[in-house]
Symmetry: C2
Subunit: 87 residues, 2 copies
């Protein structure tokens, strides 16, 4: 749960997630949306992966990333649980 919140705490990483709402993208396609070096984006993608927020699959020379919504469910529960004092 800590990795999840840490992953969400960076605005670039949240933007990446919003991008991936459209569908899966390669690391390079993701990087081209930002004014940040590819290694930095790669690092952000790794943190998102560690947090379980994205899946990845290698196809040829490309690595595709896509949202993993099942962990978003966990986040949803955490938030709801905070809102309702009697769950």
């Amino acid at each position: 749960m800590n990795a999840l919140f840490k992953a969400l705490s960076d605005p670039t990483r949240r933007s990446i997630l919003e991008l991936l709402k459209q569908g899966r993208l390669s690391a390079g396609d993701i990087a081209s949306h930002f004014d940040i070096s590819r290694p930095s984006i790669s690092h952000h993608l790794e943190l998102l992966f560690q947090a379980g927020l994205v899946r990845r699959s290698k196809e040829g020379q490309y690595v595709y990333y896509e949202l993993n919504t099942s962990i978003v469910e966990d986040l949803l529960h955490w938030v709801i649980q905070l809102k309702n004092e009697k769950p």
Copy 2:
């Protein structure tokens, strides 16, 4: 929104929020639940306040903190919006 996610990215601050689910507490009462100095807790409380996650009111020499659930609503929307590609 960034202040909100930044505030949630620290485990101590998330624990403070969980504590406040029970009801309002003074800064000192909150601090006594942690092995961290009072000034550090005070700093965490300030960040939670800046993020809009808690309200505070001074009563005599005490400062009481309580959850502000209306901002939690915003967080909820952000998460839901991430889950549903067609909102």
